[in-house]
């Protein structure tokens, strides 16, 4: 079928099942926006900043498992997307970004609003394309979605020069891929390795399952639960793996790492077998590498071969999709367990119970504590909300005190740690899951980084609740200054008692604003917010100098915890 480049892009997006795009138009994107205006299948949500569009696409993708799509114009528009794209890619989130570009004949001449988008994004996305001819559109779009969503998911940028958009082509969408000779992710684990792993698992006396974002990406939460229950394995999850195993289960150790539970970290240091599934031994979870897990053998299941033995050497590397590998492992292990093989793990569980009793995570008393606010959010929502976080102390308290029981219900920028992620990501998540109660647990600093999206939420009627843990500080940095820089609070005082007034700010945008200063007001305020059919900011004026504990100091050994 003969059509314009712009129509072909739109048609391709429809073929890929895209139902929503977050973006902002500009000069070179007018042709595409023009055809988008008449689309019956695709909703476009106009954000107020391109970073918001990228995070919203990311939040949508993390919440639904589908590819998130964002768009921006050339030059400044594309540059504004970059932080959001880097955030998504670092956390292996499937996003396709379509950026406008100046005409092919003027590329490289410093034309008006020209930026080298493929050059800028080269090192921080999974792949990118600069279209040169309208005829390439169907293949490139098909590949973009394929690459973003398969193997280790990630971000693909399609840079679209204005003349390519205006040009014409005969549109025929490829049924399956025709190119990409160098792209073949391994999804089936090596059978011999799986067998060897199963042997190791039944002979371990102090095993632990360490699960991460890869289990979410794979949709392997059920298999993981089966494996844990089959052998009674204690399970710890990373920040990005929260929910793949219910944190309410007695086998759960909660999150491990820098601000993980003491018992999860002790388990890592005492275990004789780490079964790592879709987790990448990030430095936030290993602490000092050369003292990490000294007694452990390591089985490492990951779809990305480059993650295996990158930081921690794997004794049994298994490249493959978490779900497929776990299924195979279960098949191998079930007869073993039936035959009564497998060590007695009772002493191990007894030890873990003692650690849990001795080093519990507790909500401190007195005043309005941020930990209390989070645990009230947990209580009032009965643990069923879809939680998104900003970055900093708020993020860690959310992770510690909101127990996750389902995957895709705790969204957080882990790898890049991008302040300003939470609110637009919550908007994206709510668009993808309109029936979920979506709450952004925010910091007073982070929320100010994308606060303009209040307009998006109000106008597009996306009722998310933002719970601002307002401590008046760039709290996480202040905490480090308190602990390691002699309490010299250089430029971390936000003076939110002076500005802004978050309640008025919300109201100015047409949202609801609530302020809470006392513990007993928390639950009523939450209930009011959850009933409101509009976006709500709740300004929780919390203790200013509260710290996140336990804490493994940077560079310290994982069992060397402050306040643990």
């Amino acid at each position: 079928m003969r059509m314009s480049g712009a129509e072909a892009i739109l048609k391709s997006l429809e073929k890929e099942g895209v139902d929503v795009i977050f973006g902002i138009p500009g000069g070179v994107m007018i042709p595409l926006y023009d055809v988008l205006m008449d689309s019956k299948n695709i909703r476009h949500i106009l954000t107020r900043h391109e970073q918001g569009a990228a995070h919203a696409a990311d939040g949508y993708a993390r919440a639904t498992g589908k590819v998130g799509v964002c768009m921006a114009t050339s030059g400044p528009g594309a540059c504004n997307l970059v932080t959001g794209l880097a955030t998504a890619n670092m956390d292996s989130v499937p996003v396709v970004a379509i950026t406008g570009q100046v005409g092919t004949h003027v590329i490289g001449t410093d034309a008006f609003q020209e930026a080298d988008t493929t050059g800028i994004t080269l090192s921080m996305v999974k792949h990118n394309y600069l279209l040169k001819d309208p005829s390439e559109i169907p293949e490139v779009m098909q590949e973009a979605f394929l690459i973003a969503s398969t193997g280790r998911p990630g971000v693909v940028v399609v840079d679209l020069p204005v003349d390519v958009c205006r040009g014409e082509l005969n549109f025929k969408y490829p049924e399956k891929r025709t190119r990409l000779p160098g792209y073949k992710p391994t999804t089936t684990g090596n059978a011999r390795q799986i067998k060897a792993a199963s042997k190791l698992i039944v002979s371990a006396e102090r095993p632990v399952l360490y699960a991460g974002g890869g289990v979410v990406a794979s949709g392997a939460s059920q298999e993981l639960r089966k494996l844990a229950r089959l052998l009674e394995l204690p399970v710890t999850t990373t920040l990005l793996g929260k929910g793949v195993f219910p944190e309410t289960d007695k086998l759960s150790l909660g999150m491990l790492g820098m601000h993980g539970t003491s018992y999860a970290n002790f388990v890592m240091m005492e275990t004789d077998l780490i079964i790592a599934v879709g987790a990448r031994f990030d430095d936030r979870i290993t602490g000092r590498l050369d003292t990490f897990a000294p007694h452990a053998k390591v089985i490492h299941v990951d779809i990305d071969p480059a993650e295996i033995s990158k930081n921690v050497k794997a004794d049994i590397p298994i490249v493959g999709d978490a779900g497929k590998v776990l299924k195979e492992m279960l098949t191998a292990l079930e007869p073993e367990v039936e035959a009564g093989k497998g060590k007695d793990l009772k002493p191990w569980h007894r030890l873990i119970r003692e650690w849990k009793k001795e080093y519990p995570l507790l909500v401190p008393e007195g005043g309005l504590r941020p930990q209390f606010v989070v645990s009230e959010i947990y209580r009032v929502t009965k643990g069923k909300a879809l939680i998104v976080t900003e970055v900093g102390q708020n993020q860690m308290w959310a992770a510690q005190f909101y127990k996750s029981t389902k995957p895709r219900h705790f969204l957080s920028s882990g790898g890049l740690g991008t302040m300003g992620y939470g609110f637009p990501a919550a908007i994206g998540a709510k668009v993808g899951c309109p029936d979920s109660l979506v709450i952004d647990i925010a910091g007073d600093g982070s929320i100010q980084m994308n606060v303009q999206e209040l307009a998006t939420a109000v106008i597009e009627k996306i009722p998310v609740v933002v719970a601002i843990l307002n401590n008046g500080y760039l709290g996480m940095v202040r905490q480090w200054q308190e602990l390691f820089y002699d309490r010299r609070y250089s430029h971390t005082d936000l003076q939110t008692n002076v500005s802004p007034d978050f309640v008025k700010l919300a109201e100015a945008y047409g949202a609801m604003g609530l302020r809470v200063t006392k513990p007993e007001e928390v639950a009523p305020a939450l209930r009011r917010a959850f009933k409101a059919r509009v976006p709500v900011f709740i300004d929780f004026v919390v203790e200013p100098e509260e710290n996140v504990f336990p804490m493994v100091a940077p560079g310290a050994s994982l069992d060397d915890m402050i306040g643990g």
Binding site: L122, S123, H127, G182, Y183, P305, A306
Partner: protein, 162 residues
């Protein structure tokens, strides 16, 4: 640290597309791998190019280089080519200072190395030499006393034997 870095020759088969060189080169610099030399040109199949890269890395990083290269969508195959199992060649052009007294000597030296005189100027000789690193280094050392004005190298190219 304390681990010895060794030179490795990698042969990287890539799709012949714009921007692929930037992807590969960018990967090396971003991940802190040092490139000694890099040669790239189209292969017997016009849709494919071969890059030959000599890197200076220790064993663990070499594994990472391999894996990271393989992650690039346009990279089709990465092969490590140990010197003993591959043919490795580099072509170098030297411009050497001469005068009537030294000209014959230089030509003789170049001859011994099976090099070629490719240019004769009023005060210089153009020398072409093909070979492995050690051979080229040996010739360079012999030419240096006469005065090497300029030199241009292609970087190593290599193919497996057999």
């Amino acid at each position: 640290m304390g681990v010895r870095a060794v030179k490795h020759t990698l042969s990287i088969l890539v799709e012949n597309k714009p921007g692929v060189l930037a992807r590969v080169a960018g990967l090396f610099s971003r991940r802190g791998f040092n490139i000694d030399s890099l040669a790239v040109a189209v292969t017997e199949k016009p849709e494919l190019s071969r890059m030959t890269v000599v890197v200076d890395v220790e064993e663990h990083s070499l594994e990472q280089v391999h894996k990271q290269l393989n992650k690039l969508i346009n990279v089709i195959k990465v092969t490590d080519l140990p010197a003993e199992n591959s043919v490795q060649r580099e072509l170098v052009l030297f411009k050497v200072k001469t005068n009537p007294n030294t000209r014959a000597e230089i030509i003789e030296i170049v001859d011994i190395f099976r090099g070629k005189i490719v240019d004769v100027g009023s005060g210089t000789l153009g020398v072409e030499i093909t070979g492995t690193g050690t051979k080229i280094k040996a010739l360079e050392d012999l030419l240096k006393p006469y005065g090497v004005v300029e030199c241009a190298r292609t970087g190593m190219v290599a193919l497996p034997r057999g």
